[in-house]
């Protein structure tokens, strides 16, 4: 069982967490958003092999946060509370 670091609760078992998407995938704003842009936001992904920064939720405490991870060897390099980069301005 791998341990993931919740910024609020500390290291907890991976099964307490749920993946929430790639960090920085911001919802398009405004009334003139093309179908392609919506498709990009809803469906298209970078899906990187190697270092990646993702949004996760710790189901136990209910908090969302950002986690930096390697998608090949699964090593976690850190986690942090959500900042502007993840929320948008």
């Amino acid at each position: 069982m791998q341990l993931f670091p919740c910024p609020f609760c500390g290291p907890r078992e991976e099964s307490e967490f749920h993946y929430g998407g790639e960090a920085g995938n911001l919802r398009p704003d405004g009334s003139e958003v093309t179908a392609e842009r919506w498709a990009g936001y809803l469906h298209m992904r970078d899906n990187p092999k190697g270092p990646t920064r993702e949004i996760w939720v710790h189901l136990t405490c209910g908090e969302f946060f950002a986690m930096s991870r390697d998608s090949v060897n699964h090593k976690v390099s850190g986690s942090s509370v959500l900042g502007e980069a993840e929320h948008g301005a």
Partner: protein, 417 residues
């Protein structure tokens, strides 16, 4: 040299000390230019090569594989072949694959050991039975053989199931596709490779793509670890790495990569003669011809390119299996592994020209790519030969995500991916 496999050639070679067998496929050096390039030496790529040559007469083709053929998901899956899908578009594509599988051994002159042993999908609650009845209706309307099973039917087909009162996963019935079954995964790869090679396709292993050659906004070939290779049309069938290649070509795909685990037990005498799937526990079981129980589970819910898998899912699979089949309690597990699968939001494949003209896609099969190999090959070959969609592949174009016309099999047939 003996080329054709038959009882007579086997007998002759037996007498001659097995000295006359020709190599199953050639291993030529890559030429600088081809009519078409196929990236990926798994089942889908190899089938594409074969059907390009056989159906379209395009034989000046290079198939490039970064490792060895069949070493990715083709050699890692649990070999189930079925076509019991909800939407007509899906029934058409998986039905095409299923019908080609039935005659594949004869077609390729290679025994792929397709065994129509039937596929049972269990229903563990009253509401699951209602859904099963709805599925069976839709599948029958699609022209696919499928029946609704009662508890008695399940008992007849899988007598070793745990039917005791108070079990965590009681059986209310299920759906049954009698023509579904299994095929030998390695043989599918090797059979297509041999047949394609005999028709003139160059199969080049240990050849990794480092970049695409892009001129005037078109894909004109690729740069590989063995030099540049040019072609006006390139197809990619690289499940598990689709996003990585797409990034090199300058576009993104609606794909998330996840690990899908499987494991096998020590070989035992025949105990289960069908494929049993339990959507609620995510566990499916069949028995190989060697006697090993082949056990698969649901996806790891952690995006991953590591071909190992994490413990919680494996633990859930084994726990579910033991509750459903207490008789397996003393079995020793021999091997566990994972393959990296392309998971797409609507659980349907992506087939068609990519945003980079001249580059064509066959990806996004999720956890079910093996069963679709003959269809994926036929359809990508059609695209590479004609530049246009086959009627069956049209609904699966990448443009469906911007048009909102998804083929949502996760909602339709309740498949796990």
């Amino acid at each position: 040299m003996t080329r054709q496999y038959s009882a007579l050639s086997l007998f002759k070679e037996g007498i001659a000390g097995q000295t006359g067998w020709e190599k199953a496929w050639r291993s030529p050096d890559p030429k600088p230019r081809y009519d078409a390039i196929i990236i990926g030496g798994g089942g889908h790529g190899l089938a594409t090569a074969y059907y390009l040559a056989k159906n379209h007469g395009v034989t000046n083709v290079a198939l490039l594989e970064k490792g060895w053929i069949g070493g990715g998901n083709t050699g890692r899956n649990t070999t189930v072949v079925r076509s019991n899908y909800f939407y007509p578009e899906s029934a058409a594509i998986y039905g095409l694959a299923h019908s080609l599988y039935k005659s594949l051994s004869t077609d390729l002159n290679y025994n792929v050991m397709f065994s129509a042993r039937g596929i049972l999908t269990l229903a563990h609650s009253e509401s699951a039975m209602e859904t099963a009845a709805r599925s069976v209706n839709a599948i029958q309307v699609n022209g696919i053989d499928c029946e609704l099973f009662s508890v008695e039917d399940v008992r007849r087909v899988v007598p070793i199931y745990n039917f005791s009162p108070g079990t965590r996963f009681p059986v209310y019935g299920g759906t049954w596709q009698p023509s579904g079954g299994t095929a030998r995964h390695d043989a599918v790869a090797w059979g297509y490779a041999r047949a394609a090679s005999r028709l003139g396709v160059d199969i080049i292993q240990n050849c990794e793509i480092s970049d695409f050659i892009i001129e005037d906004g078109r894909c004109r070939g690729i740069v590989t670890s063995r030099g540049a290779i040019r072609a006006e049309r390139t197809g990619m069938a690289v499940a598990g790495h689709s996003s990585v290649l797409a990034a090199k070509a300058g576009f993104r795909l609606p794909v998330n990569s996840y690990a899908l685990q499987a494991c096998v037990s020590e070989p035992v005498k025949p105990i289960i003669d069908t494929v049993v799937i339990s959507p609620d526990t995510g566990v499916y079981v069949s028995q190989s011809d060697k006697g090993e129980l082949v056990i698969g589970g649901a996806l790891d819910r952690i995006p991953s390119y590591g071909q190992r898998g994490n413990l919680p899912v494996l633990e859930g699979v084994i726990a579910g299996m033991l509750e459903m089949y207490p008789i397996f309690g003393q079995l020793k597990m021999m091997r566990q592994w994972a393959g990296i699968v392309d998971v797409v939001p609507d659980s349907s494949p992506i087939i068609g020209e990519s945003p980079l003209p001249g580059l064509f896609l066959n990806c996004g099969w999720g956890t079910g790519g093996f069963k679709a190999i003959p269809a994926g090959g036929t359809l990508l070959a059609h695209l590479l030969a004609t530049g246009r969609h086959h009627d069956i592949s049209r609904p699966f174009d990448l443009d469906r995500f911007a048009r909102g016309r998804l083929v949502d099999e996760a909602a339709g047939s309740g498949i796990a991916h």
